[in-house]
Symmetry: C2
Subunit: 205 residues, 2 copies
Amino acid sequence: MEPIKTILALTDSYRKLPGIGPKTAQRLAYATLRLTAEERKLFIAALEDSLTKVKKCPHCGFYFEETCPICSDPKRDRSTILVVIDSKDILAIEKTKNYNGLYFVLDGTLSPLRNRNAEAIGIPHLEKEVSDNGVKEVILALPTDLEGETTALYIASLFGKKNVKVTRLAHGIPVGTNLEYLDNLTIAQSIQHRTDMEKGGNGNG
Amino acid sequence: MEPIKTILALTDSYRKLPGIGPKTAQRLAYATLRLTAEERKLFIAALEDSLTKVKKCPHCGFYFEETCPICSDPKRDRSTILVVIDSKDILAIEKTKNYNGLYFVLDGTLSPLRNRNAEAIGIPHLEKEVSDNGVKEVILALPTDLEGETTALYIASLFGKKNVKVTRLAHGIPVGTNLEYLDNLTIAQSIQHRTDMEKGGNGNG
């Protein structure tokens, strides 16, 4: 006996989301049938709004409903641009209130194996934003996996030629974390990039 | 900066599903925005179908779209009823082609702490189905946690008084599993309920 069509359709939909495998998708499909009619109607309305109300900023790629809260803000410093691969990351950085420049959301990281070249992830678009805004510094907040590193090196070499400074977020010990729970690479990076207590700046290792 | 309304609404909807925490819900909400318009339309259609097309069998609680494939099947043995707490479990049992009786989906297990008494989980309804169909044996396939055990004992005592046999699925070693990877309780149960090689029946331990 096969699950009914609607359950198969719901399972297929959940399967499209990252990190949801076939078993979890089926579990969520059955759980959806146990939601109240009201809850399901709200879910449908939110999905419909995602199609009609949500816009993606043509400059930075951030999602908004009225106007892009970042690009349309005249108080923002247009000389720096911070590059992420997920607009969720923008919220995390905004929460710190430690950055007041522009953002740019790349469509993922470079991956020849998955057919994601510079164009596919939006690097030419990033170049245009950098030159249109007269950006002086590109700050990279990319994943620290191999593909993220490759992308970071590619962007650094690209803008290096154009005299645009490229920096990346510091690696180091998360505040409040005990050394014994950290991986070696993080500790090694935190030694290499140790900071001067008096200046508060970066040491040279 | 807060996420936009639609993202908050999507996050809320995902949060309603079991096993989805606040971080995962937000991740899924952002991932939803990256689905194609076509994928989101299919998702909406599936949710709408769940409201309009999916029916719950008034007898067994199984989900169906036309007629209940189990209760409406005249070849089914109406003298046994197998009790589960999730209609997904019915599919798992049907796949084995080893059972041809009726089913009954309880609305969860008994839990005084969560205010789930016999009535709330549908035990009076189960009693009615048992008597309406002249059921001779109630087979329990409930979770093996404390609440599942409590529910099993409750049902056993209830039908014991009415001379309806109550059995449960055998605990034991999953076929193809190595002993060293099994928990002690499972091994103990498999010793206690060891089966006679010649008869293929249950031993007495």
